[in-house]
């Protein structure tokens, strides 16, 4: 009960390898065009890698090496269901028959397949759409139906490409809860741009950039202490890279010195990174007196509401402060400000190698 994947697709600049224990779910994160959908395509059997090997529960789904194709299980015999980024509901079937398509293909009689389809439609809050023709749906409705259709296929491996992207808040919350229930014990790979999906649905995370895995690890570790700029940005954390200048301090290329706490002491001269919460950053109009450590100056590039706080962006750095503080400081975009963070709030770590540093 496990998944092994190694594949390189030169056309898409994709070159990845990963190993998943059965029954767990993996979130794939990364910028647009980094190869997330292509990765799913290889697993689903829609994209043939130039080289690669896919094994699912001991079955070899794909084995291509320099000598040629040694094994190739076609898409329909892989027991891998894919919810693609585009819903692509069959336009000639109604909603119910779209969802019943998988069960019917698996050989279920029409009645049972439809009953099953009705159940899955209910799960994604789309039970009332059952009799609609597939083309008469709104964007979010179509996405929900497509999700139900993928789930109804009851595959061994479930691939979900941004399953909640166009759902409204209430439904997204409800469907996320449903998925949490449904995915338990099911081998799943989930592409997402949403933090909540990672937090609520994923056991582990990989981050792709330009077709390579740049970070991998358990979801909670990556959320707490991301090592890639992309993950840090996604999880709303500040990430600063530089060179260690002591066991618990680094210097950035800009010359900023950041002190913090390290699990194991840094080796001087080695690359290192520092991560801290935007809420731990304070904003000052003048350089704070007292200890000048961990203070950097810059221009405010944006002010964004964030729940009941305001996020102040200064270049790549973020500071979350209260609206009252914004008013007190009279902050507007373009102000020159000083950001400070207490060393006790900063976590230091050796920087990851090029290939990411899987923590397992």
């Amino acid at each position: 009960m496990s998944l092994h994947l190694a594949a390189s697709v030169p056309d898409r600049q994709l070159d990845v390898a990963l190993e998943r224990p059965g029954g767990t779910s993996l979130a794939v994160l990364g910028p647009n065009g980094s190869g997330k959908s292509s990765l799913l395509g290889v697993l689903a059997g829609l994209l043939a890698p130039a080289r690669g090997r896919v094994e699912l529960d001991g079955r070899t789904l794909l084995d291509v090496d320099a000598t040629g194709v040694r094994a190739w299980v076609p898409a329909h015999r892989r027991r891998v269901a894919l919810l693609a980024q585009d819903p692509l509901l069959f336009p000639h079937l109604d909603v119910l028959d779209n969802v019943a398509f998988g069960p019917r293909s698996a050989g279920l009689p029409r009645r049972e397949a439809r009953a099953l389809a009705r159940r899955w439609l209910g799960e994604v809050d789309a039970g009332d759409l059952a009799d609609r023709p597939a083309h008469a749906l709104s964007g979010g409705q179509a996405q929900r139906v497509a999700l139900a259709r993928a789930l109804a296929a009851e595959p061994e491996l479930l691939l979900l490409d941004e399953p909640l992207a166009s759902l409204d808040v209430d439904v997204a919350g409800a469907v996320r809860a449903t998925l949490g229930r449904v995915l338990a014990g099911r081998t799943t790979i989930l592409v997402t741009h949403d933090v909540l999906d990672v937090a609520l649905l994923a056991d582990d995370v990989v981050v792709l950039e330009a077709g390579r895995i740049v970070e991998a690890g358990p979801a909670r570790d990556v959320m707490r202490m991301p090592r890639s700029a992309f993950a840090a940005s996604l999880f709303g954390l500040n990430l600063v890279t530089g060179v260690a200048i002591g066991p618990e301090a680094l210097r950035t290329p800009d010359g900023w010195i950041v002190a913090g706490l390290a699990d194991q002491p840094l080796s001087q001269g080695e690359p290192a990174l520092a991560v801290f919460q935007p809420a731990a950053v304070s904003v000052h109009l003048h350089a704070p007196s007292g200890s000048p450590r961990n203070t950097v100056a810059g221009l405010v590039t944006a002010l964004e509401p964030l729940g009941h706080l305001v996020r102040v962006r200064v270049g790549d750095l973020k500071a979350d402060i209260t609206p009252a503080a914004v008013a007190d400081l009279g902050l507007v975009v373009g102000n020159r400000v000083h950001l400070a963070v207490k060393a006790a709030e900063v976590t230091l770590d050796p920087a990851p190698t090029r290939e990411g540093s899987p923590r397992r």
Binding site: A44, G45, L46, P74, A75, H76, R77, R79, V80, A81, L82, A84, L88, F90, P91, H92, L93, F101, G102, R104, S105, A106, P133, H135, R149, A150, A153, P155
Partner: protein, 273 residues
């Protein structure tokens, strides 16, 4: 009311169509006139008094019945052989594909009479397969089977080519989705590819049926012309023309009516989306 002119672009559907260019009406109208005038001219020449007798004469009825039977059989054969061929041409990649595609067009360019000769060379008594067939006890010569074969030969390309064009136009994204849901290629074909192609399949079938119904040259060359066995309506019309061109024209109207019925039926069975 002065503003009644403003109301003219009636929006009949909720989904407002993207307009066609206005000028398109001109060539389209010309096309309709060009296709319609000969029909009018034909209608104006028919002596309607004679018409019922002519159309219900024994030879005419036998010819019409034969034509319908053979055209339907030929269309079915075209579907059975032509749909897979179109699929293979549009979706598979194999060496010699260009040759096969060219082959599928062959009967289109061959003058039907030559097609008939080629069929004689193949299925005739002294043809390539003639002896084999004779040994197997199959007698193609001068039989209704020969008519069906001739019609299938000339009609198949219409189905294949129009279907292949449509297959390329639709692409295979839905087929892929179906495969990831566990549908075998056969299921994909039956439940996704063909239903999606319904309009093109319908027009291809109509084309093939119409071509089979109107087939003359290959039939007379390959199958001969015997009332009730091989003399289809076009052959009957041709013979009528020898003595009375106007009678032949009148009889052709029967073909026109049959085709109109076929179109009406093919519209009705078209999927509703």
């Amino acid at each position: 009311m002065p503003d009644s002119a403003l109301r003219s672009p009636r929006l009949r559907t909720r989904q407002a169509p993207v307009g066609l260019p206005h000028w398109a009406a001109l060539p389209a109208g010309l096309a309709v006139a060009f296709l319609g005038l000969p029909l009018l001219a034909m209608l104006s020449r028919v002596s309607w008094g004679q018409f019922p007798a002519l159309v219900t004469s024994e030879s005419s009825r036998a010819a019409l019945a034969l034509s319908l039977r053979t055209s339907v059989a030929a269309t079915v054969l075209c579907l059975l052989l032509g749909v897979p061929l179109a699929l293979v041409l549009a979706r598979a990649r194999f060496p010699g594909q260009h040759l096969v595609r060219a082959l599928a067009l062959l009967p289109l360019v061959l003058p039907p009479v030559v097609a008939g000769i080629a069929l004689l060379y193949t299925f005739g008594r002294r043809g390539l397969l003639g002896e084999t067939l004779q040994v197997a006890g199959i007698q193609v010569a001068f039989s209704t089977t020969a008519v069906v074969l001739a019609q299938t030969f000339v009609a198949m390309p219409f189905l294949v080519i129009s279907l292949e064009g449509a297959l390329r136009t639709v692409g295979q994204r839905y087929d892929e989705v179906a495969a990831t849901l566990g549908a075998s290629p056969t299921t994909v074909l039956r439940r996704v590819t063909l239903p999606l192609l319904a309009p093109a399949l319908a027009s291809g079938t109509v084309l093939a049926f119409a071509r089979a119904l109107g087939e003359f040259g290959a039939t007379i060359t390959f199958a001969g012309s015997l009332q009730g066995v091989t003399r289809t309506l076009p052959l009957e019309i041709y013979l009528q023309r020898e003595t009375d061109a106007d009678a032949a024209v009148a009889l052709s109207l029967v073909l026109v009516v049959v085709s109109a019925v076929v179109i009406a039926v093919s519209r009705r069975t078209r999927s509703p989306w």
